[in-house]
């Protein structure tokens, strides 16, 4: 049943705006692949083209070895889940789930047992007679999922399926979807701007920005080996430290980061450093550099520390309280880096965070707005 999704050279323009620009990737059969990117990155347009709801200007779409590029949505037999559920509001839950079976003239008895099966699967068996406006957001999205799955689609396309739900329900549904996918094994393509959701659910992540693919890789590689500054900044929180390349190293504030061989000697560059890749010690260690702890915010089991480098640059560190060994505000200590990724300064401007609510404080780029707010410096 499950088939891989392959898109090749997909391009789509709306008027002057190039929403999708030569996008190619493959979503492997039976796995969840995430299309991750900020709003306006073209990820939803890609999904809608795969579903046949938009027609590409050029490029091709293959599902399960069959070309779908010019097929109508009806012919593609895909399951599509919309962000705002798009349930038929004049039909009850049963009728919604049954719709895809009815229009394809499935036998009555067969349709009934399939609907029962799906309502059980999504845990909504007692709610068959309810109408969409009598359900919570999470329940509605589960109905939408059951409806999409009812005609046994080859692949499942999910367009920000949890985007309209509050954080708690989102967490719960995410876990539930993970379990459901393990059970069904249907090839799924998930569009999301939530990097956590992508990393948690998907076995492969395609990061998009401005209509182009920035990187397509397993979550671990996306996180630890970002291909571009944008990916480094967008997926997970990152510090930015500027410096100059000398002998294949990025030098800054009396220290250096390796792996800058790809950059010309003497050029300006920047290192992306994860807050939890910063280690602090009271005395100098190999390749460490002196920092001053400007601020410490205790979050219970770990602390966020705002550190000032010798040259005035600021970085954030996140450390378990166990590993702090009494380091606190106002102290001069030594920092070393477990991991850092160097990019040339003109490899791309600092990435925009997800959605409109992007905020960045100097030296810190994070894709989680709340995190920035919680740790904004100088809120005394």
């Amino acid at each position: 049943m499950a088939g891989a999704i392959t898109v090749q050279g997909l391009t789509k323009t709306f008027g002057e705006f190039r929403a999708v620009d030569n996008v190619s990737f493959e979503a492997r059969a039976g796995e969840i692949t995430a299309l991750l990117g900020p709003s306006g990155s073209g990820k939803s347009t890609v999904l809608r083209m795969i579903a046949g709801l938009e027609l590409p200007d050029s490029g091709s779409i293959w599902v399960g070895g069959e070309e779908h590029t010019d097929k109508t949505p009806q012919e593609r037999r895909l399951g599509f889940v919309f962000q705002h559920y798009a349930l038929f509001r004049h039909m009850n839950v049963r009728q919604n789930v049954e719709f895809g079976l009815k229009v394809r003239k499935t036998l009555r008895a067969e349709a009934r047992s399939r609907v029962d099966e799906l309502l059980d699967l999504v845990g909504l068996a007692p709610f068959g007679d309810r109408y969409p406006d009598q359900l919570s957001g999470g329940q509605r999205q589960r109905v939408a999922l059951a409806r999409a799955l009812a005609p046994r689609p080859g692949v499942l396309l999910l367009d920000e399926p949890f985007g309209a739900l509050d954080a708690h329900v989102r967490q719960e549904l995410r876990r539930w979807l993970d379990g459901l996918h393990r059970e069904l094994g249907v090839t799924s393509l998930l569009v999301t701007h939530d990097q956590e959701e992508a990393l948690e659910l998907a076995s492969a992540v395609v990061v998009m920005r401005r209509g182009r693919v920035e990187q397509a890789a397993p979550p671990v590689d996306i996180y630890n080996r970002p291909a571009t500054p944008f990916v480094a900044g967008f997926v997970g929180a990152s510090n930015l430290v500027k410096g100059v390349v000398r002998e294949g190293e990025l030098r800054f504030a009396g220290s250096a980061v390796a792996d800058a061989d790809h950059l010309a000697d003497g050029s300006d560059a920047q290192a992306y450093i994860r807050p939890h890749d910063v280690l602090l010690t009271a005395s100098p260690v190999s390749r460490s550099f002196p920092v001053t702890v400007d601020r410490r915010t205790n979050l219970g089991w770990q602390s966020k520390l705002q550190l000032r480098l010798g040259d005035g640059q600021a970085i954030f560190a996140e450390l378990p309280n166990d590993e702090l060994n009494g380091i606190d505000e106002g102290q001069d200590v030594h920092a070393s880096l477990r991991n850092a990724k160097v990019f040339s300064l003109d490899a791309g401007e600092p990435p925009a965070g997800p959605g409109e609510g992007t905020s960045s404080t100097e030296g810190l780029h994070t894709s989680d707005e709340d995190e920035v707010l919680a740790s904004r410096p100088g809120h005394d």
């Binding site: 009806q74 349930l87 509001r89 895809g100």
Partner: protein, 290 residues
């Protein structure tokens, strides 16, 4: 989200203050009394008058009026015109509404404005336009005459002007419902395998049904009550091109006042029943919207 939440309460409070201060100045009962008096005098007064005069010289005239062949024909004609008008305006109204709500094309705003034209133009002028097109020497007169079709002074022109006059109602009711509905439910239906026709009849139509019925009811009421345009194009031939409203005009001309009142009352009752129906739809629709 939080911004709108914090902005809302002061606005509501201000509106509340204004309302109470106006009430306080005028006294609690005055506004109610004015409103009720206005409605009673202007709406119920004339209706009461018609009822009184319709039954003034006894109930026997009522029965006599309804058995008159010209009266029966007038009602029949009014009904036929209303039925055709409603069917045409429903089908094409939904079509135009779909295009106006969904498609983008140059001149869309002009078309949208044109839809309201019949509300702005006097029905008498509409009648005159029809005469210019289909009357002797009119643009299309020779075309239809050559095929033996009588347009002016006959049913076709009467239906035509009535359709023209009631074009806006279905469109104006359906467009906002379609806009609010959006495209997603229909797209969901497509991905589930529903053809365009299945999608329209199973998803779109059920969603716009209350707005559509409201528009149909308004169209019907307008069609029944039409006088000016029909008067000009029909020629008011007794027993042939005389609608119920035209019969009323003739009845008064010929000093058959009571017959006129009886027919008028019948039309009024029909419209009132329709109006109550509309109100029920409206209430049901708002309840559903919630």
């Amino acid at each position: 989200m939080t911004a709108t939440q914090t902005r809302q309460p002061p606005a509501r409070k201000a509106a509340g203050l204004r309302r109470t201060s106006l009430r306080r100045r005028l006294g609690p009962g005055v506004l109610l009394a004015v409103a009720l008096a206005y409605v009673l005098v202007l709406l119920l007064g004339p209706l009461g008058g018609i009822v009184y005069y319709a039954f003034k010289s006894g109930i026997s005239v009522v029965g006599q009026t309804f058995t008159q062949p010209d009266v029966q024909h007038a009602f029949y004609l009014t009904f036929i015109i209303m039925a055709i008008t409603v069917i045409v305006n429903t089908v094409f109204g939904v079509l135009v509404a779909l295009v106006l709500a969904r498609d983008r094309f140059p001149g869309k705003r002009l078309v949208s404005a044109l839809v309201d034209l019949p509300l702005a133009v006097s029905p008498v002028i509409v009648g005159l336009m029809a005469v210019l097109l289909f009357g002797t020497g009119g643009w299309f007169q020779s075309f239809f005459a050559a095929r033996g079709i009588q347009v002016i002074f006959a049913l076709p022109s009467m239906v035509l002007v009535t359709i023209f006059i009631s074009i806006p109602f279905v469109i104006r009711e359906v467009v906002p419902v379609l806009q609010e509905l959006g495209l997603e439910e229909e797209q969901a239906a497509w991905t589930l395998g529903a053809s365009k026709a299945q999608t329209f009849f199973r998803v779109t139509l059920p969603n716009i049904r209350w707005g559509l019925l409201y528009g149909i009811a308004l169209s019907a009421a307008r069609a029944i009550g039409e006088v000016g345009a029909v008067l000009i194009v029909s020629g008011s031939i007794e027993g042939k091109t005389e609608t119920a409203t035209l019969f009323i005009l003739r009845a008064f001309d010929q000093y058959q006042d009571q017959q006129g009142y009886i027919v008028a009352l019948t039309l009024a009752v029909f419209s009132i029943v329709l109006l109550i129906g509309i109100e029920t739809f409206k209430r049901k629709r708002t309840r559903e919207a919630r």
